[in-house]
């Protein structure tokens, strides 16, 4: 009898387990690339961010609109001079191994982030923190001088070099996530393997099959676990976009984070409302090498810029409707109140712009008998090629002969950095929601100890002392309205000088199943699973 009862109980328990497993709501996410790391100090791609930001959480996190909201910190104060941030960490913030989250976890994390031995690629995003860049450069070896202090177990104090209006937004970035020093010391590089990994976010990583997928399940220790509607996430590696779309159509994936541009029309016709194309904080542009002739001539730069018919690039060349760009700061960027930059020539009929461009070219000494020969470099990609072909055709009519030159990404950017180009394709996606993140691309390079100038991401080597002065003033201006005014002025100076050719504002391209609710299009294209619900 006892044995029968035991068998019935076991069978019942098994049935319950099976039914609960069957009821578990799993979000199947076509995540794009293969994550190279789950270590917040080593990752660099948005496909890695989608995973890391689900198992780790910073002092602040993102809401469904990707705005910074309280995360592991329940509240914070900012000193009047904007230099000292004091965070109160939630009393119920726990790691997934039931260890309480403490302020020391951030002290350890920031010290590790800036430690030259960690060699974190994105450490510079947190350079507003006092002495961080000096520690990263090896100039300061005493890590206690870093502007991050644990006042007590649940109080963290961060001191900045200068007031930084976007700092809270930067704290939502994975470079500002806490770490468990004890586990990193115990497991070394293996701490991110599923058998060792511990997080403080809504989901914990339980499986990683390199080259294929990762799986995360709801964390029992997350303070907001009661509100999580998705029980499991499967992040699938979907580098082949066409295959990923097939998987979506077969119902194997619930969300795609990208799709082939030429399938947009098909999706609109056959899966209405499921393809989400939305403005995204990023700019696609052509760099003009101003360090040598002929592009050191502003007339030629202007002729090249005004003769680009931007209106056809998004709708016709790409097919996904990217909006034409004339300024340098994407629409909707934070801390940038004011009228967007709009040059007079943008409103001119295109024929008139072409005539004006021809005139400018003639003034610069070029014409039908003496065409200007330029090389246009782009990194290998079907869309880059289409755009390059279209624009070279537009330039042909003003007497410019373009040689198209494509190379793989590493070679392309190596050439841009070396200044070995005339015109080069580039793009920038904002790391944090602030206008300075794009405008800084046009600042004059910094002189090294050996006398050479490091131009950083300013590949065209645009340089204007007035622009630099305004950006420096804006970097520590506490009055946000005044700061925005300084940056608008800087943007006008650079764009009026044709520092580069903005072409279009990026769009995010997601495909979202009607089963999913809580997915909101936003300018950062950040969609945390904790806000989503899936219905069967």
């Amino acid at each position: 009898m006892t044995q029968v009862l035991k068998a019935v109980t076991t069978a019942g328990a098994l049935a319950l387990m099976m039914s609960s497993a069957a009821l578990a709501v799993t979000l199947n996410l076509g995540n794009g690339g293969e994550p190279g790391s789950l270590d917040p100090h080593k990752v660099s791609g948005d496909w890695e961010n989608r995973i890391v930001s689900e198992y780790l959480e910073g002092l602040v996190t993102e809401d469904a609109q990707a705005k910074a909201v309280a995360g592991q910190a329940e509240s914070w104060t900012i000193s009047d001079d904007g230099l000292v941030y004091t965070f109160k960490i939630r009393g119920d913030a726990m790691w997934s191994d039931n260890v309480p989250v403490t302020a020391q976890n951030w002290v350890d994390a920031f010290q590790r982030l800036f430690d030259p031995k960690t060699a974190s690629e994105y450490a510079y995003l947190q350079y507003p923190i006092k002495n961080s860049s000096k520690i990263a450069a090896g100039e300061i070896t005493d890590f206690s001088q870093l502007g991050v202090k644990a006042v007590d177990d649940k109080t963290l104090e961060i001191t900045l070099e200068a007031a930084t209006p976007y700092f809270l937004d930067a704290l939502a970035h994975y470079t500002a996530f806490p770490i468990r020093k004890d586990l990193i010391e115990k497991f070394g590089d293996q701490w991110t393997q599923p058998e060792n990994i511990v997080g403080n976010g809504p989901y914990k990583i339980v499986e990683w099959v390199p080259g294929s997928y990762l799986r995360g399940v709801k964390s029992d220790t997350y303070y907001g676990k009661a509100d999580l509607k998705i029980d499991e996430i499967r992040w699938d590696n979907t580098e082949d976009l066409t295959a990923a779309l097939n998987r979506y159509r077969a119902g194997e994936l619930d969300i795609l984070t990208d799709f082939p541009a030429d399938q947009y029309k098909f999706l609109q016709d056959n899966y209405p409302g499921q393809a989400h194309v939305a403005p995204f904080l990023g700019i696609y542009y052509y760099v003009l090498n101003q360090s040598k002739p002929p592009l050191d001539n502003i007339n030629i730069r202007k002729a090249l810029s005004i003769s680009v018919l931007r209106d056809v690039i998004g709708p016709d060349v790409l097919g996904t409707g990217e909006l034409p760009a004339y300024g340098w700061v994407p629409p909707g960027t934070g801390n940038y109140e004011g009228t967007p930059y709009a040059p007079d020539w943008a409103e001119m009929p295109y024929d008139q712009r072409v005539e004006e461009a021809k005139k400018l070219m003639a003034e610069a000494g070029y014409g039908p008998d003496k065409p200007l020969k330029l090389q246009l470099r782009y990194n290998t990609n079907e869309n880059h090629q289409r755009i390059a072909v279209a624009i070279s055709d537009m330039w042909k009519q003003i007497g410019v002969e373009v040689e198209l030159f494509n190379a793989e990404t590493a070679v392309h950017y190596d050439a841009l950095r070396a200044g070995d180009f005339n015109v080069g394709r580039a793009g920038w996606l904002l790391d944090y929601d602030d206008a300075s993140n794009t405008l800084d691309l046009l600042k004059t390079g910094t002189k090294g100890t050996d006398g050479t100038i490091n131009w950083g991401n300013n590949y065209g080597r645009y340089s204007d002392p007035k622009f630099d002065e305004l950006m420096t003033a804006a970097s520590s201006e506490l009055d946000l309205v005044k700061r925005a005014g300084q940056m608008h002025e800087a943007e006008k100076i650079a764009m009026d000088a044709f520092a580069a050719i903005p072409i279009y504002w990026y769009v995010s391209k997601n495909v979202v199943s009607p089963k999913i609710t809580g997915f909101e299009d936003n300018a950062k294209d950040i969609h945390r699973v904790r806000w989503m619900t899936k219905s069967e």
Binding site: E34, G36, S37, L38, D39, K42, S44, P116, K117, T118, A119, S120, E121, A123, Y124, S133, A136, A137, G138, D189, T192, Q193, V209, P210, G211, S212, Y213, D236, N237, T238, E239, D240, T242, A243, A244, N246, R247, R249, A250, E252, A407, E408, T409, A410, V411, H412, Y413, D414, A415, R417, A426, G427, G448, N454, W455, G456, N457
Partner: protein, 307 residues
């Protein structure tokens, strides 16, 4: 026989060493480096990264350091898959790639042999035309396109098979990938079998067998199949190495955890360690299979041993 095998193994060692040396220096001398991404890194960060991966050391020191590591079985770190070293990645991906390649090899070889034999026996009749057409389609259509077609047909429209993804222990997820990988291999085998079997079926001894009143099946099994398979046997070595090293597209399209796709990703990202690791692995596979075929030939034909 043993001496011959040993000689062949010894001649393979310098080939591996030369390959490593040439690849190492070509990679380092190629324009663009592992940190030449879309964003320029601050000089200090760049210096830290170069130091972390020992790229700040003289090239020759890096080379000897790498060779010493290889002899210890350590292929160094991956600069893309930062949470893994190259040896571990190979350890995870290689068994899957081998399983996928061998499965496709068996399916393709058997399928190809049957298709080739049926086509030869029915020469210039509808089964022959149909099979030749299928074989040509399998060979001509690139596998990424064929993969998308079968995904749409069997996955999206018929919903018979999963379109992609990997599920440990699930054989059904491997049906389409194996089919796509096996198709061109099977097509080549079928063409070889068909051609050689038509030739064999036209020989005097087969005609004699027919005139004696022997049945077609018996003639095939006893007289035609064995000689018709000789050219196929010589193709199997390269065919297998092609399947083991050519699974890149299939692994990418079906999101499978093999080693194939690491090679291209690593090359594009200048992931020196992973490129070299996968190259050495591929060279080893190709050499080992060629060696195996040569030794088999030597075993079958003793004259080869003394050439």
């Amino acid at each position: 026989m043993l001496g011959y095998a040993l000689r062949r193994v010894l001649t393979a060692i310098p080939i591996v060493l030369i390959t490593i040396t040439v690849c190492f220096f070509i990679l380092r001398l190629a324009p663009g480096g592992p940190f030449d991404g879309e964003r320029a890194l601050p000089p200090d960060q760049l210096r830290n990264l170069r130091a972390y991966y020992h790229l700040d050391e003289p090239l020759i020191m890096q080379f000897f350091g790498y060779i010493a590591g290889v002899f210890r079985g350590d292929f160094g770190p991956s600069m893309v898959m930062k949470d893994f070293n190259v040896s571990r990645l190979i350890g995870i991906g290689l068994p899957f790639t081998l399983m996928l390649g061998f499965s496709a090899f068996v399916v393709g070889t058997l399928g190809g042999m049957i298709a080739g034999a049926v086509a030869a026996v029915n020469q210039n009749r509808w089964p022959d035309y149909l099979l030749v057409a299928i074989v040509l389609v399998g060979i001509i259509i690139p596998n990424f396109l064929m993969a998308n077609l079968v995904q749409l047909f069997f996955g999206v429209y018929l919903k018979w098979l999963p379109v992609g993804g990997y599920q440990p222990g699930s054989l059904i997820h491997l049906v389409l990938p194996i089919f796509i990988l096996a198709l061109p291999h099977g097509g080549r085998v079928a063409r070889l079998v068909r051609g050689s079997m038509i030739e064999v079926l036209g020989t005097n001894y087969v005609r004699t067998a027919k005139s004696k009143g022997l049945g077609t099946r018996l003639i095939l099994a006893r007289h035609a199949l064995k000689p018709a398979l000789l050219p196929v046997v010589s193709y199997l070595g390269p065919g297998l190495s092609y399947l083991l090293t050519g699974s890149l597209v299939v692994e990418q399209v079906f999101s499978l955890p093999g080693i194939g796709k690491y090679f291209i990703t690593a090359a594009l990202n200048r992931d020196y360690g992973l490129v070299l690791g996968t190259t050495i692995l591929y060279v080893f596979i190709i050499l080992a299979l060629n060696l195996l075929v040569d030794i088999l030939y030597a075993w079958l034909d003793p004259k080869v041993r003394y050439r």
